[in-house]
């Protein structure tokens, strides 16, 4: 994991001092609300429905046990004893006091954390595959590039006042687990036929009001050119992105307006000036950063643990959990464990201070003291010996992290919605809970198989509803909360945007609506089909017919 050096520490400490001074000037009336707004946003501080909300960065989802303990302690001292993990691998506090935020930032800095650029119209936290570095299907570990981008984008003087927020995601495995096609810039790390590393570059993806899948503008960008090329894209966006209408200000609108070819030509023209300039990466720099992500001290183990096999045979509950929450590891004898933050009645992605501390203990005991946050709002222990899985599972059960539902219908991605967010049209958390309650039969859930259910409380799409296999969107109908359903989205290699099923529904029928949709799938599926496959084969009509016949 990346460790700060003296430079990083200086920069973060100076940021704390800067924000303390800005907050002070705001409280003294020397900064207006409008002037303070982007300053606080660029420190992750929103003012929400009931209280400010503070978003703390977890760069590309990597966090140490020590840092997790610090997050827990802060939640107790400055908040209400819980946190919310977001779909952008960050963590949010829902109840901090504005005057105390500088103190929170100072506390975070002591353990190499910050809230820099977690909001605002700037380059945000770069996100990646939660299994980076350990996935069996990985081609290249994307994390060194994430860190290189983190450093380059941190306080980039030219790009702090972009037309709108800017999100970059990188994936280095065969399976896209970072949703790169729905980011402002999506990067696939690849190796060409000469063994050189580089990136396939997509631009103009995004969710929100006008969801779009990104377009490729470069099929292979050699790694040393990463930063100059990003700089060229950002400069074109900064100069020509729309600023007259905040809903048309994302890069996707510019790419669409110019056309991908013309956009690429502009980027290339700009890049000619920057290419091979000082920002070109050196081998030494890539090596220096990569060293932070070298493998931990794995021990030699047999590929298959006999102990594990024995427990799998003896304990069906353990077997259920193993099937859903454990993923194959690239190193023999190891496994990747996902700790589910999707227990029924727990807001998806929420964790209490006790859970955070338990996760830190588990990480230290079983997984080299490191944790990852997934964009599906779960926690990951990436390096667990197969021999330890059974005891780890028993521990995880005690703290409510062992719900065996990863990738299933109840592993809901959900935004905070109307319970917390001032922009919401409707609540989202009660919908998630009602559906989780309806689908509480594990055998049934496992039989349904992989299914992404994503819920957003408004069209800003923080809950990724466009790319859920089933997406739910909160809408406002004459002051009442209604829910629109979309089918057929996907955030993976086969990325697609969901199609609207039809008129929206009242809250209390939502579990029935989902049940009807599942029934159609179960009726039509072939033995090898997942929900999305059946949907793609039979189309939306059978779902429509059934849902509106039974729920009108």
């Amino acid at each position: 994991m990346y460790k700060y050096d003296a430079y990083d520490k200086t920069i973060v400490a100076e940021r704390v001092a800067q924000f303390r001074d800005q907050t002070q000037r705001y409280l003294e009336g020397k900064l207006t609300d409008a002037e303070f707004l982007p300053l606080r946003l660029q420190n992750g501080l929103y003012v929400q429905r009931f209280a400010p909300m503070l978003r703390v960065a977890i760069p590309y989802g990597m966090v140490s046990a020590t840092q997790i303990r610090k997050l827990a302690e802060i939640s107790r001292r400055y908040d209400k004893g819980y946190v919310h993990f977001s779909t952008r691998q960050n963590v949010q506090y829902n109840w901090p006091k504005l005057e105390r935020v500088p103190d929170i930032l100072a506390e975070l800095a002591t353990d190499e954390m910050h809230a820099i650029q977690t909001s605002g119209n700037c380059i945000r936290n770069t996100t990646t595959d939660q299994f980076a570095g350990v996935a069996a299907d990985e081609l290249v570990d994307p994390r060194p590039y994430c860190e290189i981008i983190r450093q380059w984008s941190t306080f980039h003087p030219e790009f702090a006042y972009l037309p709108r927020k800017f999100k970059i995601a990188i994936n280095g495995a065969k399976q896209d687990r970072a949703a790169v096609q729905v980011h402002d810039i999506g990067l696939h790390v690849e190796q060409n036929s000469h063994g050189e590393l580089g990136f396939r570059v997509l631009v103009g993806g995004g969710l929100g009001r006008t969801p779009m899948i990104g377009t490729e503008i470069c099929s292979f960008l050699p790694e040393q050119h990463l930063l100059t090329y990003l700089e060229a894209i950002l400069r074109v966006y900064n100069r020509y992105g729309r600023r007259d209408n905040k809903y048309k200000a994302r890069i996707k609108i510019l790419v669409k307006a110019l056309g991908a070819e013309a956009f690429r030509a502009k980027v290339d023209a700009e890049w000619q000036h920057l290419k091979d300039g000082p920002q070109t990466l050196t081998e030494a720099e890539i090596k220096r950063i990569s060293q932070h992500f070298s493998s931990p001290d794995y021990i030699d183990l047999p590929a298959k643990s006999a102990l594990l096999q024995q427990h799998l045979q003896q304990d069906p509950n353990f077997r259920h959990w193993y099937q859903r929450n454990v993923t194959g590891h690239k190193v023999p004898g190891y496994a990747i464990v996902t700790l589910s933050l999707k227990a029924t009645a727990q807001a998806p992605g929420d964790a209490t201070d006790k859970q955070l501390e338990a996760a830190a203990d588990l990480a230290e005991q079983y997984s080299f003291g490191e944790i990852r946050v997934s964009h599906q709002q779960n926690l990951v222990l990436a390096d667990v010996q197969q021999d330890h899985l059974y005891t780890l599972w028993q521990e995880a059960l005690k703290f409510g992290f062992a719900t065996p539902n990863i990738g299933l219908l109840t592993d809901v991605i959900c935004c905070p919605g109307g319970d917390f967010c001032a922009l919401a049209n409707a609540k989202s958390l009660p919908i998630a809970e009602a559906i989780q309650r309806r689908f509480d039969d594990l055998d049934y859930l496992h039989d349904i198989g992989n299914l992404d259910l994503n819920i957003s409380g408004c069209m800003n799409a923080c809950g990724h509803h466009h790319v859920g296999h089933i997406g739910i969107l909160g809408v406002d109908k004459k002051g009442e909360e209604f829910y629109q359903v979309q089918l057929g989205g996907s955030a993976y290699n086969d990325a697609s945007l969901g199609k609207i099923l039809g008129p929206s529904f009242a809250r209390d029928v939502m579990p029935d609506v989902i049940t009807s949709i599942i029934d159609v799938y179960l009726k039509h599926r072939t033995p090898e089909e997942l929900f999305i496959d059946t949907y793609r084969r039979i189309g939306i009509q059978p779902f429509k017919d059934r849902v509106y016949a039974s729920n009108n």
């Binding site: 002037e35 306080f155 030219e158 702090a160 000082p278």
Partner: protein, 164 residues
Amino acid sequence: MPVIIKNQTVISDTYTFYATYTEGDVLAKHSIIPVDDFLANPSLLEQHPGTIGVWLDSHHEPEALSPYLHQLAVIAVNFPSFTDGRGYSIARIIRERLGYQGELRAIGEVLHDQLFYLKRCGFDAFKLQAEKDPEEALRGFNDFSVSYQAATDHPQPLFRHRLH
């Protein structure tokens, strides 16, 4: 007397700002006129050698100025709103691509908390909003003692000059 910040000190502003200019208008000794009006009357350079400057708005393309750059006494870039970040790119292009060495002045909504970034992008003169205290704003230049990325003020990124 109006003031500006130049090279991180507060000095008086000797330039007169013209929101518009029409051919034949009588200009003050030191004047800053709109870029389009200047481009329509480039002979002004001979009439006011070394004392005329231009200002660009955030949608302007600085490239058009390149034939005249070295004769302009000042180039000002307007920030119609401090959240309009186009001026940062304009400044870097003027300095790094076009090679302009003279005074590059940020005007419009220029605030304490933007000074560090503005300086990094090549501005060396700053006209703050009239009601803001320029002496207090000077602190803004020192918010950070080190930066990761290359920009106009430090053309080498940290990774090319780090000590360890």
